[in-house]
Subunit: 198 residues, 2 copies
């Protein structure tokens, strides 16, 4: 199943790796814990900071302190680019040139809107805790009204989202196939250990 790019901006330049199926985009966003948010600062410089996110329906939610430089700027309605990347493997080719990585990434362009309704904010923050650790929402004290006021929640629609991925083994030059080097993929995984109690 294929899907078309939602906009010129959200079109992946390397055609062979661009994907636009909503299911794939959502799966990548849901598997990733951290995204990288890019904005243009007032002085014209880009700023990229990592932050937690959660997807719900057709939107991505970011949160943080109202004092955060990143979120304060994003809140003004400036363009943002949110990027998520899952590293799946290291591709070992027979030539240095064809070394690569297997990955799944998503890039979302848009502008954010602050979530102001208290109940909706509480719902999104619960989703965020659940995204970090499933089941945890029921294992902690929910936010008070003051804590909700001290948290900025921003909503970014997924209208302009694209995915990009590489999978499979190395693509070696035919002349290199007989070289005596081991070739293939080193899988990379993120592992969670047991809770260390404090």
């Amino acid at each position: 199943m294929t899907a078309a790019p939602p906009s010129a901006r959200a079109t992946v330049r390397r055609d062979d790796r661009g994907r636009y199926e909503r299911e794939l985009i959502e799966a990548i966003l849901d598997e990733a814990l951290v995204c990288h948010v890019g904005i243009v600062q007032d002085d014209g410089w880009p700023l990229v900071l990592p932050t937690l996110h959660v997807r719900d329906g057709d939107a991505l939610y970011l949160h943080g302190s109202p004092a955060s430089r990143l979120l304060r700027t994003a809140k003004k309605g400036v363009p943002v680019c949110v990027t998520v990347m899952l590293l799946d493997g290291l591709v070992m080719a027979r030539s240095a040139f064809h070394h690569s990585i297997n990955y799944r990434s998503v890039v979302v362009f848009g502008t954010v809107q602050p979530v102001t309704d208290g109940a909706e904010k509480a719902r999104v923050l619960d989703l965020l805790v659940e995204h970090v650790q499933a089941g945890r929402g029921a294992e902690c004290r929910p936010p008070t009204e003051e804590e909700l006021r001290k948290t900025l929640v921003l909503r970014l629609p997924l209208d302009e989202a694209s995915a990009k991925m590489r999978e499979g083994g190395p693509i070696d030059d035919p002349d290199d196939l007989d070289l005596p080097f081991p070739a293939g993929v080193i899988p990379v995984r993120s592992v969670r250990d047991e809770l260390v109690r404090y």
Copy 2:
């Protein structure tokens, strides 16, 4: 040991988490395989894309196809922001509000210069392969002159770099300490499995 911020731009806004020691910055860049590069595009929108990097001495090196939108724009000498993040743990607090993550991140601001000398380019590409998998530089065919021509290598000085980190357990409100919820840190690690041969 502490160090001062190299510039106003590279000053971490949350004082308690900003760090400027060169050793720490280098260790984070060296441990991370992937960075996120942010630029401002011609239309004023930010673009953030993940890519491989390697640090050598006082610079960070990026590489890719000369056709890459990101690298082509960066090559013009526009401001870039390169961000690296290592996720170390999920901090489970007794309240939803105090949930957090343990991480180490680095943000570098600057402008890039293309590496044009063939021998220097070959040296950096070898470092890149070694950064992805130690020892691999000797286990593959080195690049030909044509392959070197088809690879863009960009150098970003580390003059304006800062690190940020959080470590340790949750910081709960005193009133929450008796709540019957398990609290602490779930360590997160990136694991490499054995090479799957192709």
